[in-house]
Amino acid sequence: MPKRIYISVGLLSASIIAFQLTLMYLLSIIQWSHFAYMVISVALLGFGASGTLLALARNWFIRHIKIALPVLMMLTAVSMSLIMIISNTVFGSFDSYLLFVDRSQVLGLVITYFAFFVPFLFGAIAIGLVYIHYVKKIGGLYFADLIGSGIGGLLTLVLFWSFSPTQLPAVISTLPLLAGILLIPAGLKMKFTPLILAGLLMPIILFINPPRLPMSEYKGLSGALNLPDAEIVAERSSPYGQLSIVRSPALRYAPGLSLTFQGTVPVRDVIFNNGNWFGPVVEWSETDTSHFLDYTTNSLPYIIANPGDLLLLDAGTGLFAAHALTRGVENITAVEQNRIAVNMLKNELAGMIDSMYQDPSMNPVNLHPRSYLLKDDNLYDLIILPTSESFGGTSGINALEEQYTMTVEAMNEMWHRLTADGMISVTSWMDYPSRAPLKLLATLVETHENNSSLPAEDHIAAIRGWGTITFVLKKSPLNPDEIGRIRDFGNQMNFDPVLLPGIDQSERSVFNQLPDDDFFSHVDRIMSADRYRFYNEYDFNIRPATDNIPYFSQFLKLGRYGKMQEMFGQSTVPFLEIGYLIVLLTFIQITGAAVILIILPLFAIGWKGGGKLYTVLHFSGIGLGFMFIEIILIQQFILYFGNPIYAAAAVLSGMLICSGAGSLASGRFSKGRRGIVKVLALVIFFILIYTILLTPLLRLTINFPLTAKIFLSILFISPAAFFMGMPFPLGLRKLAELNDTLIPWAWGINGCLSVISTALATIIAVEAGYIWVMLIAALAYGLTLSANLIKN
């Protein structure tokens, strides 16, 4: 086997990972992010389909391997570079938002699936073919594959910083092209010239003149750009997303403004991230003494007290900070993860606006809010959380976002950062049927209950306007003066108190009536000891989020779906909580397709015969288990590093590289059945250790310096990852001895199950929590172990 095949496999794997991440990025900008998730999941089935094709046409591919490999790699390159042009053609008439109202869009969806599926299919056939033909070298080849993938993940980060999103597919396509060129047989170079030229020219042309992004006209950015004289005044791409600052004389922002406000709502520039609303560009001057937020329910904590030290979590563009400055707050710590946005506000935009980030009271912190809470030991008079949900409700679009700032554990940490009279304040948009405000209240009540033996009703105030409700949890009891001020504030602003010590039912909907009074009875049940029964009885999931199930915005209870259909109508229910349903739909689609892809080869290789049960069990188990662990580790390390992008890069690359090393060592480490069993037992052992010890270990070391944390994370990840890299090559070697016609089938099964596992892990995490995902990963490896205990 030529040595350069290792390099080609590495390059191809790097390009596939980079391309996958780039597609995710591009589709999130162009369309709706859940749709991106669905399309990419289906596209990745190219790996499963490659196994099916290889199983069906194994002999043909092996006979032509010298030509097939470079051609497949070059076709991968060409299809990657053409993806933007295909996107423009497809998305010219297709819009994921219209899927809800126009069934003809389904055809567009199918074409989209196919367009994105093709590059993965070509690439996966090439890798699978190498594995089949050179199975004796599988340890080294799988090592090259995993190392390539690891480097591809890191490379993507660099590319995201360096190029515009539209140029990325062209840049990435040079990797498989190079991989293909390396494998062209010596005597055939001239015959390959047209393909090489096409593969080279296309990325060059598309790099110099990238096609436009066919952004959905229903995305926030498109809407803003339709306004008169709207223009993008600044734009910046990074792994945090594509930030665009839009200016128009008609862009205004005053969420939930009181109807008594008689001033002018100021015109603001607005920042969009990946085409979605991020926040208004906030100007501030020392002479500002009032703010439009004085006329919103967000003012509630300032009506109760005059805080001196404020902690803002997920501070965004700093709207609440500007409000705090006009309220005379002396020290503001604003924690925001998106450092590019903050840097733009602090530096690049400082010439355009009077940036409040220049004010000495401001202390901007670039970290995940939860990581900051775990590291910080200051005390604050007020902690403000970002507004929950959005205007008009989100219909579950954020259901799968892990919101570690909104968990009971996070609120407990906030409680310990409060001064004696300190407060936690959080605002939510109202929704119907009520979900977000109820879950928010439940979280605050449980936080109080966890930390105080006094009755919660003396510590919680809530006030509601026409669109928003603000809750304040105060460490000390609310006193009569404070209660009086809250009532006066409500009367001035046309806001109704919802929770106050001694509140009367008649006060609750004087200015703003709801469709029914159920909301108030629900609030009262949450305030009572009966709340746990209420969580079970209520048709939506309003049980507080926890670190184990941190999906604050996931309200759908699958068991109540039928009942909700009766209540709200069959055609309405999907629109209430669509985000989670999209994941379920994705899971159903990919599982259905995977079953077909796994069964099809059996028509060629036969239904009976030695090794089939072994193949299914062994490769399903590692396909599921590996991805489950990868997903969970990324989640866990987000808080550890305080940054989701670097966490994903560190875990993904660290795990793949360590697994690669495991694969390389697999040949020497273990021979025969006993060896595989030992490796699998070790993997299961490490997963169980992670389940018990990983979270406490990470919490314990979160304050360590970054270099120490990187060292520790490699130390945490490497033992399991090293052994997790072994079962795949060991399994293929065993198949080579047992029945080598099963190798392509095994490759397909592994590919299909890996894709299924991403959706399945999400569903298990939402329904049962991360601990169960870990335990099921251990079970999946147990399945592989059982396969190796069965005598073939």
């Binding site: 819009d95 938002y97 219209l98 809800f100 109202v101 126009d102 006209e217 229903y218 995305k219 498109s222 809407g223 339709n226 306004l227 008169p228 004389p249 008609a250 205004r252 922002y253 005053a254 969420p255 939930g256 403004l257 109807l259 008594t260 406000f261 008689q262 001033g263 002018t264 709502v265 205007f391 008009g392 409700g393 219909s395 109202m430 119907y432 026409w466 669109g467 046309n494 200015f511 703003n512 009536q513 709801l514 469709p515 709200f568 109508g569 055609s571 309405t572 629109f575 209430l576 669509i578």
Partner: protein, 232 residues
């Protein structure tokens, strides 16, 4: 001669098919009113009459015409939609329009809601911020001889002060705030109706009522939720 015959046949066929289409649209409109609107409890007679009269298919892009009477919103370009027929009817009923009324609409879109209102009230002022949409609506409403509709291209935030106060304000393009000028331009006893949420998902309606200095709001059931009330 053969070509001439063919041309005549095609012309006759085209006239006949247009006639058939037109009758088809009329039937679809009648079905829309009965099944999507009356069955869901809309009983304001003037609104029902207006929904029967206004040719909704003329207010959607040509390619969408066959779906114009479907039970959902339809895209009209520039990220805008023509609302679900039921929402148009429900919003119209809620502001209780009558002869002699003056109504302001924010967000003309293709002009459909304005046309429905114009069937009932004396004068409709409708503001559209996107010039291309506003101009299309203006031409269409003129062609359909809605002389009592004035389309204004501009920023709806400011309302239309010169003709204020209004008996009703219909905001079809809602933002996270209610512009103070609109509240000011509402007549004492007037009503403002605002849909809240994505037209593709679940929208709620909010009714703002002004009685002297007192302004109150009423959140109504999400409109997608209203189930059909089947006639026994």
């Amino acid at each position: 001669m053969a070509i001439m015959k063919l041309a005549i046949i095609l012309l006759v066929l085209s006239v006949l098919s247009q006639e058939a289409y037109s009758q088809n649209f009329e039937r679809m409109r009648e079905n829309m009113v009965r099944q999507q609107i009356q069955n869901r409890g809309i009983d304001h007679q003037a609104t029902l009459r207006a929904m029967r009269n206004v040719e909704r298919h003329l207010f959607v892009p040509r390619a969408q015409q066959r779906r114009a009477y479907d039970d959902g919103p339809q895209p009209i370009g520039y990220g805008q939609t023509i609302s679900q027929p039921y929402i148009v009817a429900y919003m119209t009923q809620l502001v209780n329009p009558g002869p002699g009324h003056k109504v302001l609409e924010i967000g003309a879109g293709s002009g459909y809601q304005a046309a429905v209102l114009a069937e009932i009230v004396e004068k409709v002022y409708t503001i559209e911020i996107i010039p291309e949409l506003g101009n299309q609506a203006k031409i269409l409403l003129e062609n359909l001889e809605y002389d009592n509709v004035e389309v204004i291209i501009g920023d709806g935030y400011f309302g239309h002060e010169s003709e204020a106060p209004y008996d009703a304000i219909v905001v079809t393009a809602a933002a996270e705030y209610i512009p103070p000028p609109l509240v000011a331009q509402l007549k004492d006893g007037g009503k403002m109706i605002i849909p809240v949420g994505s037209p593709f998902l679940v929208q709620t309606l909010m009714l703002v009522e002004k009685q002297g200095d007192r302004i109150t709001t009423k959140n109504l059931m999400p409109v997608r939720f209203v189930p059909f009330t089947r006639k026994e």
